[in-house]
């Protein structure tokens, strides 16, 4: 791959996971505070992740299998925060008063 492509691709991959972290953080705080604004912000963070993943799949100098992995990861990142939250609430339901 070309030198600029090296930097752009790696930064995009890092951004993808960073956006996943932002999504998870905003989603969690949004659920805690029952805040529509924060949940919308979480959706925007995921939107950034999805856009980043789409650009990678479209333009990155990587083989098909790797692009499939990136796309599948993007979907997994979407499901992890709500699934984790659901499981946390379920397991903590006997612990006392919670959100």
């Amino acid at each position: 791959m070309s030198p600029p492509a090296l930097l752009l691709t790696s930064l995009s991959l890092g951004l993808m996971v960073l956006a996943a972290g932002a999504y998870a953080l905003l989603y969690g705080i949004g659920r805690l505070k029952n805040s529509r604004a924060l949940l919308i912000a979480a959706a925007c963070a995921y939107g950034l992740l999805a856009l980043d993943a789409a650009v990678l799949v479209q333009a990155a100098p990587l083989g098909q299998a790797w692009k499939l992995l990136i796309a599948a990861s993007a979907l997994a990142y979407l499901r992890i925060p709500p699934l984790t939250w659901w499981y946390l609430q379920r397991t903590h339901r006997d612990e006392g008063a919670h959100t």
Binding site: M1, S2, P3, L6, L7, T9, S10, L11, L13, G14, M16, V17, L18, A20, G21, A24, L25, Y27, G28, I29, L32, P61, L62, A65, W66, L69, S73, A76, Y77, I80, P81, T84, W85, L88, T91, H92, E95, H98, T99
Partner: protein, 465 residues
Amino acid sequence: MSRSKALAVKYLAAAVLFFGVMTLAGLLSATYYINPDFLFGYLHFSTAKILHIDTMIIWLLMGFMGAVYWFLPDEFGCEPAGIAAAEILFWVFVAAVLVVAAIFLFVQWGPAIESTLWLFQQGRKYVEAPRWAAIGIAAVMLVFAWNVIGTALKAHRITGLMAVMSVNMVPLVLLYLIALPKIDNMAVDLYWWWWLVHLWVEATWEILISCIMALTIMRLLGTSRRIVEGWLYIEISLVLGTGILGLGHHYFWIGTPDYWLGIGGFFSALEPLPLLGMVVHAVYDAGVHRMRTTNRPAFYWTLAEAFGNFLGGGVFGFMITLPQLNLFAHGTQWTVSHGHFAFWGAYACGVLSVCYIALQEQRRLATVDGPGWIWAFVLLNGGLVGMVGSLLIAGMAQAFFERAIGGSTLDAFIAGQENPWFRLGIYSRFGFGLMFAAGYLTLAWNLLAVGRQQSAAVARAVPAE
């Protein structure tokens, strides 16, 4: 206080002390990048680096041991089996580390014969300590393993957490034996060496710190054992499910077959997934307790652990893990950037959390708070993030100019090292290193001083019998 808890405090204190040595050696290492003639002929980069990375392993290992010795009596309801041996071995361990440090500083190297490896220097990264010391460390760890497993046998009962810890002890100790042999073939040497390094820091150490964090959360937030155990098993599945074959990301370029490019790249690309789950879990725990706790530093260092692990291991790792990118980034300051962030987030923050938990109980403090820990927290985390950001810039410049453009020859290496972006990263790293060092001093002072006035006042207020 139980003997195990008293030993725990010694181990945690030694851990913090060696954390300081690591920081000093890190500053020294960074100095050579700016002034390569510094102490030339007397003390060289290699010695500073050895001290830096080896004390990192030592302080974290001692921190884990301190954490385990702290929680053991509460988990089993009795003193650990073999506690007397453990108490003696603590002093042997510390003395051995000091002797090895002195050998690295004053002897440094020896002729190319087996006795050099036995007495002075083994020269394999992280496990440079001479063979006599490596055998000593293995013995310390064997007794440590017995302290856990033997206590379960003695008590005729075991919690899920302790069962996980006991089972984990076996690979933890066995893998360390890879520090002992001399292997002529560099490809085979590195193959096994990576079993030790990766299956420690991305497998058995992850399990160990997860157990420690589970015990911490139970203490800090009152979470039930059933919940933390369920989460622990989920985490083990995900971390080992991705991390065992994620070992393959170290097998891209060491002469191993090219199927490792696919296997290693695939599994290590999945490694951030459980770390994201940990972030969600941390937010949940922080939120449902409305950030209220009697031990704010312990709580915040636990949060830092979850976020630091994700950022350092997950984000920074994902940038360089695919083989097409790793081909350029491998063995550059980019790796250093990821390594510093990941070790800090995954392990250091957790150990510091335990330090505060232990001292709350030891000093009988109703609450642990104050400005001191906040300053330490900000300086250490700010310094660390600054350092890794600086190294990211230097590393990207190196991958770009030395590897992608330059073709990786000696001339390309020099051109990369002299590149203005690289130099910027190096100077910036040093500056943030000073900030980190200031944070360390603040931390050490805070750990020594926090709550002592409070404890003394409480002691004075208790009416005489």
